[in-house]
């Protein structure tokens, strides 16, 4: 035991540059604790159910550098060199990108073909998409280990849609989707911990383990719906409530290429156009509805045209900026005071 402690204290001294033997291990650790947070942060105070929960903020730039000793006089060490050479003023604050032009249906013009991206936005979108990817891959693993039971519909590969749409709308807007909902659950403010706890059926889950993969809810996020296509009339109903209350909010209603053939969608398109509901319908086309390819299921795979009297856009769903610009364009198009709603088709080529 004594030898173990000696080894540990030597290692720590080597890392931090203090002279070995001067202190016991515990004194050393106490001394080092100013650099490292050894305890978990206190449990968050109970949040009232209506409070907005935001995705976690990215750590401040250069956060990793804080773990290194603050004694910067020792510039011969590699870590110190990295810290010294980084500086925010070295990076440009924003850039403009050319994005793909969207095919339009019943519109004079589509969204702009150039998108501006600030550094903060870029980092935030990247962090969001990367987090969703990692979460979904982990969920995949847990599902194969049978720790997640029942259905587990994964969103890896489609993250740009969730990130792009969230970037285009306000937190006070509403969103509803089908069962491939984990990505949107995260972007709408539920923590990873609560999502994974819900998937594994624990009490700490967002629905206390009672809902599972397909039934996770948050303020202004209505799930998570198991019945294919049923969420589309619900979304129009939410838009009706927005219009009724006159609060200038919109509802983004997502569905897949499989649901695009459901009758209730066309009933909804009719009523939404008739009553001019502030609703954006988004079809995420990943080329397969359950196990059936779109060519075998749909007489017309131009899903953005199938709203008929509803204007439509065909968007590259793999490009977060393209999605953002299209969603922003659609949102402006249908906010209270403007004409009616829009239908976005987000194309997600596989592979």
């Amino acid at each position: 035991m004594k030898t173990m402690l000696a080894i540990i204290s030597n290692a720590l001294c080597r890392i931090t540059g203090r002279s070995a033997g001067e202190q016991t291990v515990s004194e050393l650790l106490i001394g080092l604790s100013e650099f490292v947070n050894l305890t978990s942060p206190p449990a968050a105070a109970a949040v009232p159910p209506q409070a907005r929960r935001l995705p976690p903020k990215p750590p401040p730039a250069g956060g990793a550098a804080q773990l290194v000793s603050s004694r910067t006089d020792q510039t011969d060490r590699p870590g110190a060199r990295v810290v010294a050479s980084r500086s925010l003023s070295d990076f440009t604050p924003q850039a403009t990108f050319d994005i793909k032009k969207c095919d339009v249906h019943r519109l004079e013009a589509g969204p702009p073909v150039r998108a501006e991206l600030t550094r903060e936005q870029g980092l935030q979108y990247y962090r969001t998409m990367q987090t969703v990817r990692r979460m979904e891959l982990k969920a995949d693993q847990l599902y194969k280990q049978k720790i997640i039971r029942g259905f587990c519909h994964l969103y890896d590969g489609q993250e740009a849609c969730a990130a792009g749409i969230e970037a285009a709308i306000n937190p006070s807007d509403h969103l509803i989707t089908a069962y491939r909902a984990h990505g949107y659950t995260f972007t709408r403010g539920v923590s990873i911990r609560e999502i994974l706890a819900e998937l594994t059926g624990r009490r700490g889950g967002v629905a206390k383990g009672k809902g599972g993969s397909m039934h996770m809810y948050a303020p202004h996020f209505y799930g998570g719906n198991g019945i294919v296509g049923a969420q589309v009339p619900l979304g129009a109903g939410i838009a009706l409530a927005c219009q009724y209350q006159g609060n200038n909010q919109i509802c983004v209603t997502l569905y897949g290429d499989g649901a695009a053939n459901q009758g209730q969608l066309f009933e909804t398109f009719n009523m939404a156009a008739l009553w001019k509901l502030p609703c954006i319908f988004v079809c995420e086309n990943n080329k397969y509805g359950m196990g059936t390819s779109v060519e075998r299921a749909s007489a017309s795979t131009d899903y953005y045209k199938r709203g008929d009297f509803i204007p439509g856009l065909r968007v590259d769903g793999m490009d977060v900026l393209c999605v953002r610009e299209a969603a922003k364009f659609a949102a402006d198009h249908c906010r209270a005071g403007k004409v009616s709603e829009a239908l976005l088709l987000l194309l997600l080529p596989l592979g």
Binding site: P49, A207, K208, G223, L234, Q245, T268, M271
Partner: protein, 327 residues
């Protein structure tokens, strides 16, 4: 019943399935005769006035003043306008879903089905979207919606039991024009009756349990039997889910005989459920097996004579009571 409808629209209570037949029956001197249709109309009017979030949605509820001859929503569109009384196209699944979505987003819709036969088109929205959501979301997402409409002689629609707010209100079309007494108290705008409580209409030898239109048949049968010296205790269930089993148990413990009467089919019906439910507490109190008087197990036929004979009639109830009592 106006009180019941008010009760659903206001309460934050459990999922219910209610078959409503009448307003409060009382012999108070200042009572007024109100038809079922007017009672429903008044209830909706009072709730629309009281709460801005309430609105009515359905086929022909607005400009047509209520679907063909039913006229339950007569006058409401003139009073409240397009925003709160909304005519829909013939798209049950679509507008039921829209009503549920509006409820999720904070409004309090009344979704009217022209008849409950059409509600079968929207059954997914009623059960999976409206009824189950409160439970599946562990209380995060309430759905305060009322589905109402005339229910023909076919079996009622059952909303899934859960801790949610959705209510299905089954009215009997044949009773719309029938007037009943309403006491002064029940005419007040704030009068409500609790969900899940049955009403005992008369007292003794045998218990008759029923709901909706057939409570009237039971009372008529009871009147005939009283002349022969048989006293019947008639219970009006009022709510099917949650069912007031305590009331039935208490009554069976007194009378020791039970006959259930309903218009629906026998298999998996209300009578079957009552039999199963009172078995545990009241088995030893029964002097004879429970008899169910139900509709015939067929789809409703068209010819009048067939239609009449496929539903319980007063003579059927009298026959069952005598058989149970062995007289």
């Amino acid at each position: 019943m106006a009180a019941s409808l008010r009760c659903f629209l206001r309460s934050g209570k459990r999922a219910v399935l209610v078959a409503v037949r009448r307003g409060i029956h009382s012999s108070s001197p200042a009572a007024v005769q109100v038809t079922v249709r007017d009672a429903l109309n008044q209830a909706m009017d009072e709730e629309l006035e009281r709460d801005e979030r309430v609105f009515l949605l359905g086929e022909e509820v607005a400009q047509y003043d209520g679907a063909y001859k039913l006229q339950v929503s007569r006058g409401l569109w003139k009073k409240y306008g397009d925003k709160r009384i909304i005519d829909t196209p013939i798209s049950e699944m679509g507008f039921a879903g829209i009503a549920v979505g509006a409820a999720m987003a904070g409004l309090r819709p009344i979704c009217e089905f022209m008849t409950f036969n059409f509600s079968m088109q929207a059954i997914d929205q009623v059960i999976n979207s409206a009824a189950k959501t409160y439970y599946m979301s562990a209380g995060l997402q309430p759905v305060p919606i009322v589905f109402r409409g005339p229910n023909g002689a076919s079996a009622g629609v059952a909303a899934q039991h859960s801790q949610c707010f959705a209510a299905v209100f089954l009215e009997n079309e044949l009773l719309y024009g029938v007037p009943f007494e309403m006491s002064d108290e029940s005419q007040s705008k704030d009068f409500t009756i609790p969900i899940g409580k049955a009403k005992v209409e008369r007292q003794s030898h045998v218990t008759l349990v029923s709901h909706s239109r057939f409570v009237g048949h039971c009372l008529d049968a009871a009147a005939v039997l009283a002349k022969e010296g048989v006293d019947c205790e008639v219970i009006n269930l009022r709510t099917i889910r949650p069912m007031d089993v305590e009331c039935i148990e208490g009554s069976v413990m007194k009378t020791n005989h039970l006959v259930t009467v309903e218009g629906g089919w026998p298999q998996f019906g209300v009578g079957a459920e009552i039999c199963a439910r009172i078995m545990e507490p009241a088995f030893n109190f029964l002097d004879a097996p429970v008899t169910r008087v139900t509709g015939v197990d067929i789809p409703m036929p068209y010819a009048k004579i067939l239609e009449e004979n496929s539903l319980p009639q007063v003579k059927d109830i009298i026959f069952s009571v005598k058989k149970t009592l062995n007289v």
